[in-house]
Symmetry: C2
Subunit: 186 residues, 2 copies
DNA sequence: ACGTCTTGTTCAGTATATTGGACGAGTTCA
DNA sequence: TGAACTCGTCCAATATACTGAACAAGACGT
């Protein structure tokens, strides 16, 4: 609670100085009084979200930027192929290896995928608003979204809505290998 | 201003339903009264940031998630290897192909990288707070962060801070190929 | 059917956010 | 030096956020 007010106070001071604006100039741009701006910067009040929104707009930054929050993730993390954990489909033709998740400030996950030649895999819908960027590194793949079907070769990439069911099929004689980046809403 | 309040109202309703919490249960978890929660959801008040913070904590989500803002990206986008645009280093040993950028609500970029066998490439620091997830698909690579050096084989992945200079070197007789996911600070 | 409990909304009193103006300090110019 | 101006902070009045309790509706069990 006080953390968020401290954050906003510090970021507001910094952004305002960066923009070389006085309290009066920002008051005029934002429609929030000079006195209120001073009280926010000196932690003497707890502003409403509408006030913070108006200030962000006056500063020409997003609300999220004015409020900004995250903790520092682990600086270096090495995942070896030799130590990989895989998730398999029932028939073991489809393999998924989680590479990245839980990065503060980011709602993304990265997976290395493999599907045996001739194999097929139906993927459930991810949560509403999710997208996927699928990159083919080896083999050929058909990606189906309902009646829409895309055939992908090595080096091809497809960005699509992942919040509906979709289907992977490995075409040709080689197994499909590639990467899947999931971007979650929010 | 009213936009931010509408957003918070809708997201609060959605998140609370998803979590299957009544107003009373969330009131107890968050320390914000049932009446206030109702007034926020029904757009009858403009909450302070401290209240929104407490609600987010009670819901187990970040402040940014409760407040979230973005527009809908393009639903399907296919990038063919045959149509790829590449960025080359001066000696053309290093090649970078942008695969993904500008997804609303996400501060990530995805690149396919290639470095000729024996080649080296120095990467400038990305903006403060940036991270990179580097995945090796072909060849062997050494990634140096100052004095810290990591050797990576196919299938290996390294997560590291990208807001300082780093160096790529292709080891062995094969060219390095892989993917680089850049995560920018929020 | 009735009593009890839960749920979301509304109400009125209290706490505090927000304002415009006053104030003191610092700067600039004649 | 004094006047005029800018700047950030504080003050008191007004507006509104926030609470606990009341209310009405619905669900459940006897």
């Amino acid at each position: 609670m006080d953390d968020i007010n401290t954050q906003v106070a510090e970021r507001l001071r910094r952004l305002r100085r960066t923009a070389n604006l006085s309290l009066e100039e920002l008051a005029q741009r934002s429609g929030v009084s000079r006195g209120m701006l001073s009280q926010i910067e000196t932690l003497k009040t707890n502003p409403t979200i509408a006030v913070v929104w108006k200030i962000a707009r006056g500063l020409g930054v997003s609300f999220a930027e004015l409020v900004g929050e995250e903790t520092e993730p682990e600086p270096v993390r090495l995942s070896r192929a030799a130590d990989a954990d895989y998730l398999y489909s029932a028939d073991r033709a489809f393999r998924s290896r989680p590479l990245l998740a839980n990065v503060p400030g980011h709602k993304v996950e990265l997976y290395a995928l493999r599907l045996e030649a001739g194999g097929a895999e139906d993927a459930d819908a991810h949560p509403a608003g999710s997208f996927e960027e699928l990159v083919v590194t080896t083999g050929k793949l058909a990606l189906s979204l309902g009646a829409e079907r895309h055939e992908l070769a090595p080096g091809d990439a497809l960005f699509f809505r992942a919040d509906r069911p979709h289907r992977y099929e490995a075409l040709g004689r080689r197994a499909f290998e590639g990467l899947s980046l999931i971007l979650y809403a929010g």
